[in-house]
């Protein structure tokens, strides 16, 4: 069985995995990181989105063995010293969720988008989040939250 070394939310793990283990199952079932939900299991919905070496990926479409030697950030790794990430705060304050199932993926996809485009237009936000489905909100508050998160992240980095 292959052995992988992977850093998840700042902790390095060495684990034996079956090759067919999906990254999302590794995160949830092996590491207990259930903050990453499984939505559609067909790579459509984006709720299992995590950052892999700084880039958004759908963790149901990556094998754990492919993540060997990489760094993963899940929703559980965003807060620091008990303080939410600005994008988490923005989603809370703008009521960008109802049931919350898509929220971890939305937040990580939004952070990934801002890496390329720190000040996105509403249109760019909608395009940038096209791989993440929300069945509750109608997206308007999500777009507002991403804009607010972008503003606050801009302030933080200045």
């Amino acid at each position: 069985m292959p052995r992988i070394t992977v850093k998840v939310d700042d902790i390095t793990y060495e684990e034996d995995v079956e090759p067919r283990t999906l990254l999302v199952h590794f995160l949830r079932d092996r590491l207990g990181k259930t903050g990453t939900p499984i939505g559609c299991d067909t790579s459509n919905c984006g709720s299992c989105t995590v950052l892999m070496d700084g880039r958004s990926v759908k963790s149901c479409s990556v094998l754990a063995v492919q993540a060997d030697e990489s760094e993963i950030v899940t929703i559980e790794g965003l807060a620091s010293d008990g303080n939410w990430h600005p994008m988490q705060r923005a989603f809370h304050e703008e009521h960008a969720l109802q049931c919350g199932y898509c929220t971890p993926g939305m937040i990580l996809a939004a952070i990934d988008l801002l890496n390329d485009d720190p000040d996105p237009s509403d249109e760019a936000i909608r395009q940038g989040l096209e791989g993440n489905l929300c069945r509750c909100t109608g997206y308007c508050n999500i777009v507002r939250a991403v804009r607010r998160g972008a503003e606050e992240m801009g302030v933080t980095s200045r």
């Binding site: 292959p2 079956e18 090759p19 067919r20 283990t21 999906l22 199952h25 299991d41 067909t42 790579s43 459509n44 984006g46 989105t49 892999m52 880039r55 958004s56 990926v57 759908k58 149901c60 479409s61 990556v62 094998l63 063995v65 492919q66 060997d68 996809a109 990934d112 988008l113 395009q127 940038g128 096209e130 791989g131 993440n132």
Partner: protein
């Protein structure tokens, strides 16, 4: 859903990958970015005995300007293609179409060569390869061969790769000044496959179309050149006065569009005409 068991191999060089592939037998599959293959494995629509993960073969990744053509390595991700200044300058049609593939997360993992070798007629890059007459470069332990895009897409999900061969990249000819490009895609939802897509490259001269290369996505078991449109549009006025629309009426000639939940064959034929017209207008910038 969990895929059926398979053996896993992760070679670190092309030479090693070819050796492993040669030994692994016909039921082995090459894993590129996995964005098409892993969903198939999860749904248990594919049962490879061995997956050969070429994700760490560095020599298969990258984009190089070779004067009259651009070489795009098979393991270059869609994201890297979209952001490449060389691709945007010299092969803008590749960048335009790649930017419409699925969504950002999929484009981070999915690869240029993977989508060609998957040979899905609903994929965006096969029709672009056909429209641009790319040369696809494949390697096996016995050497290299070059397959023109016109011969590469044999049937539904069936590329012209022999057992033991790996697609290493494509030579994308640079089309000179005077060419305009567009990829027009109709899909049901933002990230869905193309219901129908049209890849168009058009050379204008003195206000008329001197030459056009048009290929259709999802209008048959393979991508297909719209040869009737290419012939009809030659010499047409490159404006909005109707000549381009008239040429586009030929778009469904010789196609064999599939019928599925989202579109019947006659609807796809209709779409191909409408979208070809739009693609011609956009490629002519009128």
């Amino acid at each position: 859903m969990i895929p059926a068991s398979f053996d896993y191999s992760r070679p670190s060089s092309l030479e090693e990958a070819l050796a492993v592939l040669g030994d692994a037998g016909e039921e082995a599959k090459v894993l590129a970015g996995g964005q098409s293959l892993l969903p198939l494995l999860r749904l248990r629509l594919a049962y490879p005995t061995t997956l050969i993960d070429i994700g760490r073969v560095a020599e298969l990744r990258g984009i190089a300007d070779h004067g009259d053509h651009v070489f795009i390595g098979a393991m270059t991700t869609h994201h890297e293609v979209v952001r490449s200044p060389v691709v945007n300058e010299h092969c803008p049609l590749v960048a335009l179409a790649t930017a419409t593939v699925a969504d950002r997360a999929v484009r981070h993992r999915g690869t240029f060569g993977g989508s060609l070798a998957h040979a899905d007629p609903a994929g965006d890059l096969p029709s672009v390869a056909l429209a641009l007459d790319m040369d696809l470069v494949v390697r096996s332990s016995s050497g290299e061969r070059v397959i023109p895009a016109a011969d590469f897409f044999v049937d539904y999900l069936e590329p012209a790769l022999e057992p033991g061969e790996i697609l290493v990249g494509a030579r994308v000819p640079k089309l000179g000044p005077g060419w305009g490009f567009h990829y027009e895609k109709f899909h049901r939802t933002a990230q869905a496959w193309a219901t129908v897509g049209v890849a168009a490259a058009v050379r204008r001269s003195n206000g008329t179309v001197a030459e056009a290369r048009i290929a259709l996505t999802n209008m048959g078991p393979t991508p297909i050149r719209a040869v009737a449109v290419e012939a009809a549009v030659r010499g047409a006025a490159a404006d909005r006065n109707g000549a381009l629309r008239e040429a586009a009426e030929q778009a469904a000639e010789g196609t064999d569009p599939p019928g599925d939940l989202h579109a019947r064959p006659d609807y796809r034929a209709h779409l191909s005409r409408v979208l070809t017209h739009r693609a011609l207008l956009a490629a002519c910038a009128v």
